[in-house]
């Protein structure tokens, strides 16, 4: 047995040894594939940034200019001067931040109840919760619209906030995380006479940063980026979110590409900056959502 091991270990590493051919690349051949691919992913966004600082004359020239002759902020000043763009930005921010905070609070509370507390019906409820995660939105959007209209929320930010207050996903993700924590710490606190809420806030939450940031990141991403529901629920342009505003703006100014691209940059930038600032959290969150769901 040991003989085989000794023989095959060098064989396993043989692939790394120099090939027969005299010529060798100074880097892995995979880069020849990966560099063009990476460029393919990056170039549209680079082009977005570049065109937002071009003049329309430069953009509309045929063939179009690929590099702006100078930094032209005309598009931005038009967009920011446009009465409603800042308002749309604020609307989006209000909706997304409310959704993040409330998903953190209700997701934590619900997840903890499902993970640690015993109550009649918990299994059935959990099952229902899981089942609703798989319900596609088009199935619920018409009745949700009717409910929101009945509540008088159509055309207000309330119609955008209420359905995103808590998702089954947030509850489930928090539950899974709490289940992975050791019980002993909480039990010690219970014995010391701490209330359930006290245990949750003082003992459990400080340990839950990874799960909380996953919920926060994914909630922000989905609410900030959503267009379907705002399109259905909002008609009046003062209540638009940024995504809804951007499409309307594009429809009205389809020749003013510099301004449209400037608006587009403003729409994308918050998420992009958040991503670049907390890349690890983003990627881990998405991976975790994939691996755990």
């Amino acid at each position: 047995m040991t003989v085989t091991v000794n023989v095959s270990t060098p064989r396993a590493t043989r692939t790394e040894a120099p090939r027969r051919t005299g010529f060798r690349l100074p880097f892995s051949a995979w880069h020849l594939l990966l560099v063009p691919l990476a460029l393919l992913f990056a170039i549209p966004l680079v082009w977005l940034l570049l065109s937002s600082v071009m003049t329309n004359a430069e953009i509309n020239r045929f063939p179009p200019t690929l590099w702006p002759s100078h930094l032209d902020l005309g598009g931005y000043s038009y967009v920011l001067g446009h009465a409603l763009f800042p308002r749309w930005f604020t609307n989006s921010l209000i909706v997304a931040v409310t959704a993040v905070v409330s998903n953190l609070v209700f997701g934590t509370l619900g997840g903890y109840a499902f993970a640690r507390l015993r109550f009649a019906g918990s299994r059935v409820l959990l099952w229902i919760m899981l089942a609703t995660m798989a319900v596609p939105f088009q199935l619920t959007m018409i009745p949700t619209f009717i409910v929101m209209r009945q509540l008088g929320l159509i055309d207000t930010l309330g119609a955008l906030i209420v359905p995103s207050l808590v998702t089954p996903f947030a509850v489930f993700l928090m539950r899974q995380f709490f289940l992975s924590l050791p019980r002993e710490l909480e039990e010690a606190a219970w014995i010391d006479g701490c209330s359930t809420l006290g245990v949750l806030v003082r003992i459990v939450l400080p340990l839950s940063r990874p799960a909380l940031s996953t919920v926060a990141v994914l909630t922000f991403l989905t609410t900030w980026n959503d267009l379907t529901w705002p399109l259905i629920a909002i008609n009046h342009d003062t209540q638009f979110t940024l995504q809804l505003g951007l499409t309307t703006f594009q429809g009205l100014h389809h020749t003013d590409w510099a301004a449209v691209m400037a608006g587009n940059v403003i729409t994308v930038l918050p998420v992009l900056l958040a991503f670049l600032g907390a890349q690890k959290t983003f990627i881990q969150s998405v991976a975790a959502a994939g691996l755990k769901a």
Binding site: S8, T9, L34, T140, I142, P143, V166, F282
Partner: protein
């Protein structure tokens, strides 16, 4: 009682310490979950049932609805637009999975700048479909777009892209691949980290080559993730709406009318909400069947495999 020796106060190990009686615990639990339950039942469970009822009605969202039985479903079967909408949606799913897996496998090797590549591929995923749509209708604009100008410079013929009925859907699939592949890559990369190295090592020692290790060790361990991604991408593909709304509005000539766009049009444009609900239901049931089938085949394979 008093004749017995005093026993030290301990907590019996098999009984978990509890703060209060079970009734108190249940009350706390309900207080904790009621907001979530209220929202989820009110805005998910009830609408699901409601949608089913709607699909048997003629409803214009304004006047009281009228019961029409299976008429909506009948009409749906004969509607060529619906058939097209379903077909338009199916194309994207396998492509994104295959691309994602291939790229993840490449990136999982010991090469330099893997982090940079991963970041670049993932960035489009955080960009909203709206922004993608606006950006690509600019890049692919038949007259002023940079894509056509590059083709022109290379001496190739210019394309209609989103304005050409025979290309539009493929272009949309391409855009979705651009933004969605990074997700598959990241999930697969995370899953690849969890492939036990001892397993790979063992296979190597048994004389398995690279390809055999991939086929018999790595891919089988990735199967649950692949199943998840298939479902996830299928659900996402069936939900594509924003991108279509922003770029083509279902056109040209209905070539990009995907399912949600169809439902949205029926409900909120032509005000035939019952018909829209029926369409949504057909798709949801199809999705459910896919999910169940995937689970069943997976379970069967797991049982069949010698572990």
């Amino acid at each position: 009682m008093s004749s017995r020796l005093p026993t030290p106060i301990t907590i019996t190990p098999n009984r978990k310490p509890r703060r209060a009686g079970p009734r108190r615990e249940a009350a706390t639990a309900w207080a904790f979950i009621s907001p979530a339950v209220l929202i989820i039942i009110g805005l998910s469970v009830i609408p699901v049932v409601w949608s089913l009822l709607l699909s048997f009605q003629a409803n214009d969202l304004v006047t009281p609805s009228r019961w029409v039985g299976l008429e909506n479903y009948d009409a749906l079967v004969q509607d060529p637009n619906f058939g097209q909408a379903v077909w338009n949606t199916v194309l994207y799913v396998p492509l994104s999975i295959v691309f994602g897996l291939a790229l993840a496998l490449v990136l999982n090797q010991r090469i330099r700048f893997v982090g940079l590549y991963r970041t670049l591929m993932f960035i489009p995923f955080v960009v909203s479909a709206t922004a993608q749509g606006v950006l690509f209708s600019f890049i692919l604009d038949p007259q002023f777009g940079v894509a056509n100008s590059l083709l022109h410079r290379l001496g190739l013929s210019t394309q209609g892209f989103l304005t050409d009925p025979s290309q539009a859907l493929l272009v949309l699939v391409g855009i979705t691949l651009w933004s969605g592949t990074g997700f598959c890559v990241v999930v697969y990369l995370a899953a690849l980290q969890e492939v036990p190295p001892s397993l790979v090592e063992a296979a190597r020692l048994d004389g398995a080559g690279r390809w055999q290790v991939l086929r018999h060790v790595v891919l089988p361990t990735l199967r649950p993730i692949t199943v998840f991604l298939l479902l996830w991408q299928a659900i996402n593909a069936l939900q594509v709406f924003d991108l279509v709304y922003v770029t083509t509005k279902g056109g040209p000539l209905g070539s990009t009318t995907v399912i949600v766009y169809f439902v949205w049009q029926q409900a909120f444009k032509t005000f035939t909400a019952g018909y829209g609900a029926a369409a949504a239901y057909v798709v949801a049931v199809a999705l459910l069947v896919i999910a169940v089938l995937l689970r069943v085949t997976r379970r069967r394979r797991m049982e069949g495999a010698t572990r």
